[in-house]
């Protein structure tokens, strides 16, 4: 039975349900226990599970990320919270060298069932060091999986899949979405990793987005509908594995494609999707794939500049109009 809860509550339910079911699962990170989480995602979990399983750490991302990875070698299944993925850069070696490669380096002896999760992307005026979209950097690395849920239902279902997955899974959450509400089933269900979903049906152009950009796509689609352009919005949900089949199916239907990616454009998820869509739909596309990204600059603090930097609805509308001009 579903009811409306916040995105952060959905994440909490996923973690709590999995922790009740499996004593090997624990949560570790900065301020996750006593403080109830910097963004209150783990609120109340210390009370239920106690300090042995909900663990506060020093400001030592490399240290506690590595601790989590090491503990998987003896069968534990940690959830490591980065207060922000922006702070994961100081732990880059542990999360990119050890977690995704342990199974390979050890010839199959040691897998690494671990979840890294936290805020990703621009918050509100946090400036350039605190507004990282790490997805386009980290998704390049084989051995890891990556999920970016856009709504409470997927957040709970995908995070539960991630906690049960025997591989390292990076779960990227947008601070801007933590307070949005949505229908979420009570109790156990999962959303499989690697499956995209059609967020809105349409006929004229496919908008491929993920996470926060799905909302920018919605705003743009509403505007474009008034102009008589019907957009199909595809929510990637998983970045690695990426559900190219679903994207291709939609593009073969609409013959036009705009990718909306909140990270920087160069060597990004947006370029990957564009390249693959061109490869798979070379004869179906009536125009090349257009891409909408964050402007290719460090995140500015000033409110108006930040809003202008984002892959906002205005930019998406312009892209759709120019890609479909020959429709």
């Amino acid at each position: 039975m579903a009811r409306e809860i916040e995105f952060r509550e959905a994440l909490r339910e996923a973690m709590s349900e999995e922790m009740r079911a499996d004593p090997r699962v624990y949560l570790i990170g900065e301020e996750v226990a006593d403080y109830n989480g910097a963004y209150k995602v783990s609120k109340g979990m210390l009370e239920e599970f106690g300090p042995r399983r909900i663990i506060d750490t020093p400001i030592s991302e490399s240290g506690f990320a590595g601790l989590g990875i090491g503990s998987t070698m003896l069968g534990l299944r940690p959830i490591v919270e980065f207060m922000s993925w922006s702070f994961s850069l100081v732990a880059a070696d542990q999360i990119l060298n050890n977690a995704p490669k342990m199974l390979y380096m050890s010839g199959g002896q040691f897998g690494c069932p671990i979840v890294f999760r936290g805020n990703d992307g621009a918050g509100g005026q946090l400036g350039s060091t605190h507004s990282w979209c790490v997805e386009s950097l980290y998704a390049n690395v084989p051995g890891l999986k990556m999920i970016i849920p856009s709504n409470p239902h997927d957040a709970k279902g995908l995070l539960k899949s991630a906690i049960r997955d025997d591989n390292p899974v990076f779960c990227l959450e947008s601070e801007r979405l933590l307070s949005i509400k949505g229908d979420v089933p009570e109790g156990d269900y999962v959303v499989p990793i690697g499956k995209a979903t059609i967020h809105r049906e349409g006929t004229d152009c496919t908008l491929v987005g993920f996470g926060r950009t799905v909302y920018f796509c919605e705003q743009a689609a509403d505007q474009l509908a008034r102009e008589g352009i019907s957009c199909e919005i595809l929510d990637m949900r998983s970045i690695r594995p990426l559900d190219m089949e679903a994207i291709i199916r939609s593009v073969k239907k609409t013959n036009y494609c705009v990718v909306v990616d909140q990270s920087w454009s160069f060597a990004s998820i947006g370029s990957e999707v564009a390249a693959e869509v061109h490869a798979a739909c070379f004869d179906d596309l009536d125009n090349h794939v257009h891409r909408v990204h964050n402007d290719d600059v460090p995140a500015p603090y000033s409110h108006d500049l930040e809003q202008e930097m984002l892959p906002n609805a205005r930019k998406i509308c312009e892209a759709v109009r120019s890609v479909t001009y020959n429709a």
Partner: protein, 374 residues
């Protein structure tokens, strides 16, 4: 106190207490910082400022006392709780507020915000958001002054860098790497730990192992260290003066554990459930500003009236600064692609100094975009 707590050999402190006139200027500086922060919090409530705001209330004696013990050309670098250091270094409050409000007249043209108060002309090197990350940069500043004096100019090292960090930052690996480098390379730098007892909601003992003596973190590298009372600006100044003189002469790094307290929450969203109201009151009773005020009154260096008019004067100046800053234009969208690269290519339009640093003459020349803000 300090001498008893010295971790290594004792440095005799022969530094005299400065004249009343100097003490008055410190009181003024501390009042200015306190008022700046009060107005910053107001501005944040009124949505004039956004992002993360970390205020300095309670720690004023640290920035003002340390910086008073330095030369104006000695580099200063700190973390995101940086308003106090920038103001103590001489940043005009109206430029600070403009930055806080995300306006073009800010020290970083509104691109940096509260966490990035840079001010080159006052040897203020930021303002850095990633915990601990300013420490390797700080060793680089000390390396650069020494290299410039000795290798380029062929003279002797003559500057000392003050690198401020929090107690929580002591658990970032890069800080340890920086301390080791400072010793190995004989760098003239003082690591000033503003031990305000908390890292966000985490009390220092909960996550910072040190055998109950933070100076042990310096002993690890054979670095000299000391603990001093950060609520007493006169002690801060006298201890730091001796330390900075020594470091200037030896070019060997020093580590200072400065006991202080963060009167407010970590940032604007902190309910402070992790500490008691009693504890806060206890420390507030030790307010560094009131302490210096009492001292000046006892000295009869100032009267109650003079104190009142001084703070009235400061409040006025700060109110004026807020008004001025709120009149400053928001950056034009063209600023997005300005200051990304030093040169001009693709969508990038090169770089230019912020308005307040530019001689009026070349203003129009170098920052067309910067000036036609909405």
């Amino acid at each position: 106190m300090s001498t008893t707590e010295t971790a290594n050999h004792v440095v005799e402190n022969t530094v005299p207490v400065p004249d009343p006139e100097v003490l008055k200027s410190w009181l003024r500086d501390m009042l200015q910082i306190r008022e700046f922060e009060v107005r910053s919090m107001q501005a944040y409530q009124n949505k004039l400022a956004g992002g993360f705001l970390h205020v300095y209330n309670g720690q004023e004696a640290v920035a003002v006392g340390c910086i008073a013990a330095m030369r104006h050309t000695d580099p200063v670098i700190t973390a995101y709780r940086d308003h106090g250091h920038a103001l103590a270094r001489g940043l005009d409050p109206k430029i600070g507020f403009a930055e806080l409000f995300g306006r073009i007249d800010g020290c970083a043209k509104g691109k940096g915000g509260s966490m990035h108060f840079f001010d080159r002309n006052n040897s203020m090197f930021g303002g850095h958001g990633i915990v601990g990350a300013q420490c390797p940069l700080g060793t680089g500043l000390a390396f650069a002054t020494k290299y410039t004096d000795e290798v380029i100019k062929g003279g002797t090292s003559d500057s000392v860098t003050a690198c401020f960090l929090g107690d929580g930052a002591l658990n970032q690996g890069s800080v340890h790497e920086a301390m080791n480098l400072a010793v190995i390379f004989d760098l003239p730098i003082v690591f000033c730990v503003e031990n305000n007892r908390y890292a966000m909601g985490t009390a220092v003992d909960r996550c910072t192992a040190s055998g109950n003596q933070i100076t042990n973190r310096a002993l690890a590298f054979g670095m000299e260290s000391r603990t001093i009372d950060g609520m007493d600006i006169i002690e801060v100044y006298r201890e730091m003066k001796g330390i900075i003189n020594q470091v200037r002469a030896t070019t060997k790094p020093f580590f200072v554990d400065i006991d202080t307290y963060r009167f407010k929450g970590h940032s604007m969203s902190d309910p402070r459930k992790y500490r008691t109201h009693e504890e806060e009151q206890e420390y507030e009773a030790d307010d560094p500003i009131e302490k210096l005020t009492r001292y000046l009154l006892a000295l009869k260096a100032m009267t109650e009236e003079e104190i009142k008019s001084l703070s009235k004067q400061v409040r006025h100046e700060i109110r004026e600064a807020v008004n001025w800053a709120s009149q400053s234009p928001v950056p034009d969208v063209s600023e997005l692609h300005h200051d990304v690269y030093a040169d001009t290519w693709g969508d990038y339009t090169g770089t230019s100094l912020p308005r307040y640093m530019k001689p009026a003459t070349d203003e129009d020349a170098t920052s067309g975009e910067a000036s036609n803000g909405s």
